[in-house]
């Protein structure tokens, strides 16, 4: 199993970055990267389709050494496991792994944006609680 290179920089699309900024401003997440990685986890958990995802005009967000190592490890495990479940090739190096992670995060952000449309910060936090509770319960 490949691990995510913590020296790498995560690079979302401008659309995703815009929404991440909104979530930060609404005090839902303290950092944009936390929201981005949560979206990736959400997408993996729901096995969202990433093959049609095209990533354009990507911008630097943050170097991954600012992120909890356990979170990165869990996400790496998640990507390997879901690829395996889906009968797809597992990533062969950390660069590919990071690319897949970004795709999941992007598709997750699109999905969550729809899900949280019209909701205020506290409602979104409450929904996150629901997402997590249902994950623990499942």
């Amino acid at each position: 199993m490949k691990e995510i290179d913590t020296r790498a920089t995560i690079r979302p699309t401008p659309e995703a970055k815009g929404y991440l900024d909104k979530l930060k401003k609404n005090d839902v997440f303290d950092r944009m990267i936390d929201a981005y990685l949560f979206a990736a986890a959400y997408a993996i958990q729901n096995n969202l389709e990433i093959s049609k995802m095209t990533l354009r005009d990507r911008q630097d967000l943050v170097v991954l050494n600012r992120v909890d190592e356990d979170v990165l490890l869990a996400l790496a495990a998640g990507i390997h496991a879901i690829r395996k479940r889906n009968g797809q090739d597992e990533p062969s190096d950390s660069k590919e792994l990071l690319e897949i992670l970004t795709q999941y995060a992007e598709v997750g952000i699109t999905e969550l944006k729809q899900r949280w449309e019209g909701k205020v910060g506290s409602q979104i936090q409450s929904d996150i609680s629901n997402i997590i509770s249902s994950s623990v319960g499942s």
Partner: protein, 642 residues
């Protein structure tokens, strides 16, 4: 002896074009409800009643122009509006009608108002104003026609001389005053005759003149004492207000301490909130771990399988090395050349595998990290958020309390406290001075009366010498006795009435206030101003009470007055409980069935929701509803089922 409203007829009055409501008085209930939406015409209904009774003193001539129905005015610019009221008391029927006409001259418009007509049992009575005053005195109108939206006003309504007179009229005191005045007039008349009759007798004339002089002095002193009493009352108001200010400042010392304590609590709560926020932050940062836990466990299992395979490989190498060293096969035979070559090739290959050891170490580390991660315990997010909310709410409360206390203590210093208490001392001295003035004047009156009595006795002795003066003197004595008796009766009756109102008002107030432990009773002053006596014995001025408390106090007084008077007047309440808190609302609603007279409530559905209506049902006589017909720009009133 209840006075009850039986009928009301509104023509071209504001939103009403031609509406007649009949209140069925033959029912058990004492409550009539008229429901209406905001802007539907409830207040117009109340205004119609007061205008019919009191005319321009409640709605000015200029403002009345706005009261002509808009739609009817378009069809007929010189429109006439009218309000008709019918009251029943015992078996007597009182009808009052007032009309006004809109007059248009060129571009200017004005209004002509006719004097109200007053009928008793179908017979028109002259001087309608006086007649209306006799059944519903104008200065007491706020007691009968109660506008919940203007409750601020109620703390002041008993502060005029006219109101005092009006209250006494309700209590039947003017009849007694008339008796006293008649006796006084008779006394003066007889004394004047005695004076005329005694002109021939020099000594008698001298004494009569002296009596007259003393009487004039007594009259003067009485006027002075009356004035001094009024000043004493005003002084008591000032003193009470300054004392209250002083007490409030003393209370402020405690508030300063409270601010300090709250500030400490604020610091602790802020730090707790910061900690809780950090926890939320950390939780959201680690949220992906929880979502990935199943996958992590899957990978742990996967790596475990790979590990078992690698271990097996290591054991095989060791075995091959032992075979080469011993040169013997596991079956006991010697190893031949081909077999040896094969084992060497296998071991060489395994050397390449040994290069993988670092990778295996990494994999072991990975497996151990994933194993640790797979045991990750997800914190209870709801609990963390709840805790954060709790602390945040507590902090808000503390901040609000500090702001409130700071506002209450704004501009207050020890210096100011001292100044106020010095002022209290000064005002107390002024009050005592006024009391002494009254005492002195009373002593003067007593002395003069004593002197008058001596003179009267002397006159009596002299008067017996002449038949006419003897007879007139006897009459003077009788008239004097009657005057004194009437005077005493008035004092006694007023005192009795005031005590009765005080008892009733205190009892009702205790029943409906939301602070029955704090507000012990209601004190009614000689001029019918109110004071609330609290648990520590202070007499609070109504202006210092909250808006809702003022309404409650006014309501208790109105009910008390109704109970004490023999002519209980109807109570029409607009927005009856709209400005009250839920406890006051509940208490007033619960009390309404006990109200001693007819109650007409002009309310919105929200003010009297179904549960309250159900509770009131046994005491409801009728329910009417004001229906707004927007397309016709008018309101109609219809009876609906209870």
């Amino acid at each position: 002896m209840k006075l009850r409203l039986k009928e009301i007829h509104l023509q071209n009055w504001k939103c009403y074009q031609n509406e007649k409501i009949k209140f069925a008085l033959n029912t058990e209930g004492n409550i009539w409800i008229v429901f209406g939406k905001n802007g539907g015409g409830k207040t117009s209904f109340l205004e119609a009643i007061t205008w019919c009774l009191y005319g321009s003193s409640v709605i000015s001539r200029k403002n009345l122009l706005q009261y002509f129905n808009r739609t009817a005015r378009k069809q007929n610019p010189e429109l006439e509006l009218s309000v008709f009221l019918k009251f029943i008391k015992n078996n007597d029927c009182y009808s009052i009608t007032r009309t006004a006409k809109r007059v248009v001259r060129g571009s200017s418009e004005s209004v002509e108002i006719q004097e109200a007509s007053f009928y008793k049992n179908g017979q028109r009575k002259q001087n309608s104003r006086e007649k209306i005053e006799s059944i519903l005195p104008r200065f007491c109108k706020e007691f009968f026609f109660f506008n919940g939206a203007k409750i601020e006003h109620y703390a002041q309504i008993t502060h005029t001389e006219e109101t005092r007179e009006a209250i006494e009229r309700i209590l039947g005191i003017p009849e007694l005053i008339n008796l006293r005045d008649d006796a006084e007039r008779a006394l003066k008349l007889i004394e004047e005759r005695l004076h005329q009759a005694s002109l021939a007798n020099k000594d008698l004339k001298k004494i009569t003149d002296e009596i007259k002089e003393v009487q004039q002095k007594i009259e003067l002193k009485r006027e002075q004492i009356e004035k001094a009493k009024q000043e004493l009352y005003k002084q008591s108001e000032i003193l009470s207000s300054v004392k209250q200010e002083g007490n409030q400042i003393e209370e402020l010392q405690g508030k300063f301490k409270e601010i300090e304590r709250l500030k400490l609590e604020q610091i602790n709560s802020e730090s707790a909130l910061k900690k809780a926020e950090q926890e939320v932050k950390k939780y959201l940062e680690q949220a992906p771990i929880t979502l990935m836990l199943d996958y992590v466990r899957e990978m742990v299992d996967d790596l475990q399988v790979k590990n078992i395979i690698a271990t097996r490989k290591t054991v095989s190498i060791k075995l091959l090395q032992q075979l080469l060293e011993n040169d013997t096969c596991v079956c006991g035979r010697c190893i031949d050349k081909d077999a040896r070559q094969y084992i060497i090739e296998q071991l060489e290959e395994s050397n390449i595998s040994q290069n993988r050891t670092k990778q295996e170490i990494d994999r072991d580390n990975l497996r151990s990290n994933l194993t640790r991660l797979s045991k990750y315990e997800t914190p209870d997010y709801d609990e963390i958020l709840d805790e954060q909310d709790c602390i945040s709410e507590k902090l808000d409360e503390i901040e609000r309390a500090i702001t409130r206390l700071k506002k209450e203590t704004k501009g207050i210093s020890q210096q100011k406290a001292k100044e106020i208490w010095r002022k209290v001392g000064q005002e107390e001295n002024k009050y005592k001075q006024k009391q002494q003035d009254i005492e002195r004047l009373q002593n003067d009156i007593d002395r003069l009366k004593h002197q008058e009595n001596d003179l009267r006795r002397n006159r009596e002795k002299l008067a017996v010498n002449d038949e006419e003066t003897a007879m007139l003197n006897k009459q003077v004595k009788l008239a004097e006795g009657l005057y004194k008796a009437a005077d005493e009766l008035i004092d006694w009756h007023i005192e009795q009435c005031q005590r009765t109102i005080e008892e009733h008002t205190s009892k009702i107030h205790h029943q409906i206030t939301n602070k029955p432990e704090e507000y012990k009773r209601i004190k009614i002053n000689d001029n019918y101003t109110l004071r609330v006596k609290n648990s520590v014995g202070d007499l609070l001025i109504p202006t210092t009470l909250s808006t809702g408390e003022k309404e409650i106090l006014a309501f208790a007084f109105i009910a008390g007055l109704n109970l004490a008077s023999e002519t209980a007047a109807p109570l029409v309440m607009d927005t009856p409980v709209g400005n009250l808190d839920t406890i006051h609302q509940k208490n007033i609603i619960n009390y309404l069935p006990e109200f001693p007279s007819q109650v007409i409530l002009l309310a919105t559905d929200r003010e009297l929701p179904k549960d309250i209506l159900d509770k009131l049902k046994p005491d409801i006589a009728q329910i009417h509803k004001i229906q707004r017909e927007e397309e016709k720009d008018r309101s109609i009133i219809m009876e609906i089922e209870k």
